[in-house]
């Protein structure tokens, strides 16, 4: 206690009001309710999942024999039953991420720049662009399944023709990416907008005096000013894309065959419909590792640009 107080005084400069009079266990009591939930539904499953992945864990069977790394090995063995489907689903997730992330980085920035000045109706326009995001994927999914219906949908009625938006490639990808951009553009735009408003006016004025054009201003003031926000937007957008589930589940149902069935869809199907939980848990861990690696690479890229 005294040691902590001393450290606090030297590090923090001032003693916080709650600190002096509290018994040393006070902070832990405050944390306890949350920590119970965190431990039960975050930490425990993270460890439990690893345990499951080392077993031939069929929910419906009494015996769950230990199999070591077999579930992982199967994912890398072309002769195994899961190999083709798993990598097919990873590929679908990869295609979706590669197509949607660039759009979701650029288009919302353009919208944010459009809104980053004061004019009558600004709040109204911002709200309309954000509106789809407050709806859930279930609403978005059934709505666009209807709008994109090749025979009866409004999209083909508007454009003419009978494009198979939900049943054939590459159209199914255009649909999934387009709907996702429409749905979540407002979220990234609002975050960009907050970032833009944090850039000091003086920097723009200085750039104007230096006589650069609009483009120079964008490159030398706006983009560097957005960096902290950009890191969040990039990582969050990639993680969201990699977790895509509902759009495929409701709009294409994986069509034409299993080409648009994403990794999360396949994992949920394997573990929670076919009840092959050991194999599904191993897939989850592999996907998580891949995503952690990608997050780290993005962090590195942002750091080396310093």
């Amino acid at each position: 206690m005294t040691m902590l107080q001393e450290r606090e005084q030297t590090e923090g400069g001032q003693v916080s009001p709650g600190m002096r009079r509290n018994a040393s266990f006070t902070p832990y009591l405050f944390l306890l309710p949350y920590f119970l939930l965190f431990g039960t539904f975050m930490l425990a499953p993270a460890v439990y999942g690893l345990w499951i992945s080392l077993h031939d864990w069929d929910y419906l069977l009494p015996g769950k024999p230990f199999v070591g790394l077999d579930n992982y090995q199967a994912l890398f063995d072309p002769a195994s039953a899961v190999y083709d489907f798993f990598w097919q689903s990873m590929q679908a997730t990869g295609v979706f991420t590669a197509l949607s992330v660039p759009l979701l980085l650029v288009a919302p920035l353009a919208v944010a720049l459009l809104l980053n000045r004061s004019f009558p109706g600004r709040t109204f326009f911002r709200a309309t662009y954000f509106a789809p995001y407050v709806l859930g994927v279930a609403v978005i999914g059934v709505l666009w399944r209807f709008l994109l219906d090749p025979n009866l949908g409004a999209v083909n009625a508007l454009l003419g023709g009978s494009t198979p938006w939900t049943t054939d490639l590459p159209w199914a990808w255009f649909s999934l990416v387009g709907v996702t951009v429409w749905w979540t553009l407002g979220f990234n735009a609002v975050i960009y907008l907050a970032g833009l408003q944090d850039i000091p006016r003086e920097l723009y004025e200085a750039a104007r005096i230096d006589g650069g054009g609009k483009w120079a201003e964008f490159r030398h003031v706006t983009l560097p000013g957005l960096r902290p926000v950009l890191l969040f937007v990039v990582i969050n957008t990639v993680l969201q894309a990699a977790n895509m589930f509902g759009q495929s589940y409701l709009i294409t149902q994986g069509a034409p065959g299993v080409e648009t069935r994403t990794a999360i869809m396949y994992i949920a199907q394997t573990g929670l419909r076919d009840f092959k939980m050991g194999s599904a848990a191993a897939m989850s861990y592999l996907l998580t590792l891949a995503l952690l690696a990608i997050s780290l690479i993005i962090f590195r890229l942002f750091r080396t640009r310093d």
Partner: protein
């Protein structure tokens, strides 16, 4: 801005609004069309013969798709989770914002890390934990596990840190203990932050799809999002009924958004800046 440029400017902005809003309006309009008119080619925009038939079908008693029940379940789950999040997240955020204690950095780092681990990857073990708790096919499965999300703790910690310390110091001088400082000073000062967090928690639970489709089985324990999946399967091309279901799931969310737009948008943009 010149007049011409001003007009061009607003045309672009309005065109964008149309792209985002028109599909939602289409959903509402379709929900009051007859099944025949909804799939007629070329489509009509305004219903020629507006009818509440589709809503009637959904609210019929004894139907295989008890939408009213789903609506109530969704309300209960979303409200329950919002309340639970407010309680546990505010309690956890307070010491993280204002106290020094052993293990603080470790604890903070641990919950920070979970923001980078997509929650879906825990879906298999969490299913088994819910099973052991006896919560499968109950609303507890929708209310409790989601409250372990680190978002609320981060959000409120940041909000508490932005509060002035003077009032707390005054309360301590008057002999208040930590719990009294928390309930009498911190919480009343944090109403906007708590309201924002409640709204965001409510909406994200209201919209949750993947988790309920796997932990709920019987039609009467469904919430609206998995229910919509059932409607889509049951009424295939009876689109007014499917759109009426989607409208019922949308209206509370859109209403909250219209009423509390500023809170929601500012809450969201702040959470992003936290990065």
């Amino acid at each position: 801005m010149s007049r011409v440029r001003g007009i061009a400017w607003y045309t672009v902005l309005l065109g964008l609004s149309l792209i985002f809003i028109a599909p939602l309006v289409w959903m509402l309009l379709t929900s009051i069309k007859t099944p025949g008119e909804a799939t007629q080619l070329p489509p009509t925009v305004l219903p020629q013969d507006p009818t509440t038939e589709a809503y009637g079908t959904l609210f019929e008693t004894g139907s295989q798709t008890p939408v009213l029940r789903w609506f109530l379940n969704s309300m209960l789950a979303a409200t329950g989770q919002a309340v639970l999040v407010l309680i546990v997240a505010s309690m956890a955020a307070y010491p993280l914002a204002r106290m020094q204690f052993r293990g603080k950095n470790l604890f903070f780092g641990m919950i920070l890390a979970t923001l980078f681990v997509p929650i879906f990857t825990l879906i298999i073990p969490n299913f088994l934990i819910i099973d052991r708790l006896g919560w499968l096919d109950t609303l507890w499965a929708l209310i409790v596990p989601g409250a372990a999300s680190a978002f609320g703790v981060f959000f409120l910690r940041q909000f508490f840190e932005s509060l002035p310390r003077e009032l707390e110091e005054a309360a301590v001088l008057e002999g208040a203990n930590a719990w009294q400082v928390f309930t009498k000073v911190i919480l009343p000062l944090s109403k906007p932050g708590l309201a924002t967090l409640a709204l965001i928690s409510f909406l994200s639970n209201w919209n949750d799809f993947i988790w309920p489709i796997y932990v709920l089985f019987s039609p009467e324990s469904f919430t609206l999002p998995p229910g919509l999946g059932i409607l889509q399967g049951a009424y295939t091309i009876n689109y007014p009924v499917v759109m009426a279901g989607a409208a019922i799931a949308s209206i509370p969310a859109l209403l909250l958004f219209v009423l509390a737009q500023r809170y929601i948008i500012e809450g969201v943009s702040r959470s992003g800046l936290k990065g």
